[in-house]
């Protein structure tokens, strides 16, 4: 299948408006980080003991890694469900995932208050297998390594190392299997991280099935991200949108989304937690907003006719990203209350400096995506160009 659409570098200049803006934003991030590492977290963030985790954890790591599930979702489709026709989507999706995850891993360091000890998490004797965060850390680190291996044929191709590429391809199936297992493990565990917080998390988001919810939403948003990225890449590089692939993939996405919604709502009903959704509270408002985002794709691309419209696919992808983002923000921030109803006066809204770092990390991702797709064989060759 891949022979039909061999991946080729897009080419073109590396310095343009987009990369220059990214560069400036990255510089701003580095400035903030300098202050953070010299004076401490309090100097640049609005973190406090009522909200010890801010956007550096919740956006950069928890949401960032969910948004980086495109590679996982598409690879699972192609290699596990044997849907080879989607092969052209694998490399671009994997590239975005690779950067999403690598940066999530790097971003953790910015947030760690005692970052020089970070290796303890992998060290027998220090590592605590009872800790959900231990599982997440080990799994994400392993997955980053596996993804670089999965993606390395791109570099080997570029540098003409055909022998090494052939050798790697012989065992690639194992890394593909591992690359499917690991995200299943840590994407679910990212949700399980809420469990130990107990009744501090609103019952709308505190549930024993939270791992399943986070996993299903990560798979779904993986496809959503591919819709989003394919549309953005096509617009930015003035390429044809791979509609023949995105249409059926969007249908699959709606299927997984349906499963997610069934578990999500079924769980709320079974636990009798649905009442919280009808309380006059900020939590209830955000719950409905989250649910609306998850239902929106059905309204946008529910019919086969609607799925032929690239704009609608794009918007459905964004809706899913918003839903997955809100579910995580809601669980970890909006639905989280240290005081358990006893008001300690804690509140949190990210500082400008915190936002600059999150934006800067996103800029690194965009910049790297541009450089790599322009210089390395990632995106499928254009139909017109391929007709030789």
């Amino acid at each position: 299948m891949s022979a039909h659409h061999p991946a080729v570098p897009v080419g073109g200049k590396l310095l343009n408006t987009a990369t220059a803006v990214c560069g400036v934003l990255i510089m701003a991030m580095l400035a903030v980080l300098l202050v953070r590492f010299i004076f401490g977290l309090g100097a640049v963030t609005n973190l406090n003991d009522g909200y010890p985790w801010g956007i550096w954890v919740i956006f950069d790591v928890i949401i960032g890694s969910a948004f980086a599930c495109g590679g996982f979702s598409v690879a699972m489709l192609v290699y596990i469900f044997n849907r080879g026709e989607y092969h052209p989507l694998v490399r671009p999706a994997l590239l975005a995932s690779l950067f999403g995850y690598t940066l999530a891993g790097v971003g953790v360091i910015f947030d760690l208050g005692r970052w020089w000890n970070f290796w303890h998490i992998f060290w027998p004797g220090y590592a605590n297998p009872n800790s959900v965060m231990f599982e997440v850390a080990v799994c994400i680190s392993a997955y980053i390594t596996v993804m670089w291996i999965e993606f390395s044929p791109v570099f080997l191709e570029k540098w003409g190392l055909t022998v090494q590429k052939k050798r790697l391809e012989k065992v690639l199936f194992f890394f593909i299997a591992l690359g499917t297992l690991l995200p299943m493990m840590h994407q679910s565990s990212l949700g399980t991280m809420l469990v130990v917080m107990g009744p501090q998390v609103n019952p709308l988001w505190q549930t024993p099935v939270v791992p399943l919810l986070y996993l299903l939403s990560a798979i779904t948003v993986g496809y959503g991200i591919v819709l989003f990225e394919s549309c953005v890449a096509s617009a930015a590089y003035r390429r044809e949108i791979e509609m023949h692939l995105l249409q059926p993939m969007a249908k699959i996405m709606l299927g997984v989304l349906g499963l997610f919604l069934a578990v999500r709502l079924g769980d709320l009903v079974v636990r009798g937690a649905l009442g919280h959704a009808f309380a006059a509270s900020l939590e209830a408002f955000f719950f409905w907003l989250e649910l609306f985002c998850f239902v929106l794709p059905y309204l946008l691309i529910g019919s086969a006719a609607a799925r032929r419209n690239p704009a609608r696919l794009f918007l459905a992808g964004i809706a899913l990203m918003c839903g997955a983002m809100l579910m995580r923000v809601n669980g970890f921030l909006i639905g989280y209350d240290t005081g358990l109803g006893v008001d300690h006066g804690w509140h949190y809204f990210p500082s400008i400096a915190e936002m600059l770092v999150t934006i800067g990390m996103f800029s690194v991702e965009v910049l790297a995506y541009i450089i790599i797709t322009r210089r390395f064989p990632v995106l499928p060759r254009e139909e017109a160009a391929a007709a030789h």
């Binding site: 469900f81 005692r114 000890n117 605590n128 599982e135 679910s188 107990g198 006893v342």
Partner: protein
């Protein structure tokens, strides 16, 4: 919804049998990997206090709000003063923090005429680590920087191990572990029951200095018995109240010699109008610090917690999924088998194409 349960729905020509098999395999694998049934073989019960657990008994009706314990705690832990008033004359923390491990907070209502009355009254409450039987912070800590001593049950912290992730801060339902955000090398700060002073014969500084015995140090078991004794008294009834350290009923002279300080500091006081509730006896599986109050515990800042600990729920899920790595390895084996077939098939296809060209 048209495809209720499975992504693999597009009709496709080819080997239906294998497809169906893969469908089933994947459905099984995914369900096994993700579906969570908490009450299974790996279920972990809520841990109980160890028999020799050490703790405190705080009796809010005896507390006069002098804050001597707050000052003693600062001194014992070499913590700096925290200023919130305009003239920086006294240590005036408004809450526990990375530099304040113990604080007496005040409840006020209406005219504040009566002590320990919910209406038009006031009351005190101690805020410090409860030393849970099954602490969330210990379960959450990815690097074992937060540990529970298996003998005395003290929840201790080691900054040399800590990575500063603050999961303990987020996990604790009492809001106890606090981080020092004002430092590039910030640590977690929390009460460790003065365990660093035990070898010199000193017990918890807060209990050592408390003039009324409102904070009492001892074995949790003995403290619980003492708490129940007080609850059985009629309000206003005169009784003997211990101060400092509560000796065990069966304490030997050798055991007593372990601790410094005068033993007999008892005095006569009147029993409070207690609520019939020893806070910490059952909350979250029980805590080693116990509390008595005449005013509703939620109103004085103690959360209403279930008897099951969140650590037990969290670890049950974690070990159900990953216990002995059985499930991940099984799923990996299945995935590898499927991926091998599909990747090899694809490579073959590719070669065929190249052959044609």
């Amino acid at each position: 919804m048209k495809q209720p349960s499975h992504p693999h729905t597009e009709p496709e020509a080819g080997s239906q049998g294998r497809r169906n098999f893969l469908k089933r395999l994947l459905a099984g694998g995914a369900a096994a990997a993700a579906a969570v049934a908490p009450e299974v073989a790996c279920a972990r019960d809520t841990l109980q206090r160890p028999p020799e657990a050490l703790g405190l008994l705080y009796d809010a009706t005896l507390c006069v709000g002098c804050q001597a314990c707050v000052a003693a705690c600062k001194q014992a832990n070499a913590n700096p003063a925290e200023f919130t008033a305009v003239d920086k004359l006294w240590d005036t923390p408004l809450d526990t923090s990375g530099h304040t491990f113990n604080l007496i907070k005040m409840y006020r209502n209406g005219t504040m005429e009566n002590k320990d009355a919910e209406q038009n009254g006031f009351a005190f409450m101690k805020t410090s680590c409860m030393h849970c039987a099954d602490p969330s912070c210990v379960s959450a800590c990815p690097v074992s920087a937060m540990t529970k001593n298996p003998v005395n049950g003290i929840v201790g912290y080691d900054p040399d191990i800590c990575i500063g992730c603050r999961y303990c801060v987020a996990a604790c339902p009492f809001g106890i572990p606090k981080y020092q955000y004002d430092s590039p090398t910030g640590q977690i700060g929390k009460c460790e029951l003065c365990r660093h002073r035990h070898k010199d014969g000193h017990y918890s500084a807060c209990a050592e200095v408390c003039p009324t015995g409102a904070t009492l140090f001892g074995r949790s078991e003995d403290l619980l018995a003492e708490a129940k004794r007080r609850l059985a008294l009629k309000p206003g009834e005169w009784t003997t109240m211990p101060r400092g350290r509560l000796p065990a009923k069966d304490e030997t002279p050798e055991q007593a010699a372990q601790w410094k300080g005068p033993l007999n500091q008892d005095y006569q006081a009147q029993a409070g109008a207690y609520l019939q509730h020893v806070y910490g006896e059952k909350e979250y599986g029980g805590t080693q610090v116990l509390k008595l109050s005449a005013v509703n515990f939620q109103k004085v800042g103690m959360p209403d917690l279930p008897p099951k600990s969140s650590a037990a729920t969290s670890e049950t899920i974690q070990h159900t999924l990953y216990g002995g790595l059985i499930m991940p390895v099984a799923v990996l084996a299945g995935l590898t088998w499927v991926a091998r077939r599909n990747v090899v098939a694809e490579a073959g296809e590719e070669q065929d194409k190249q052959g044609e060209a």
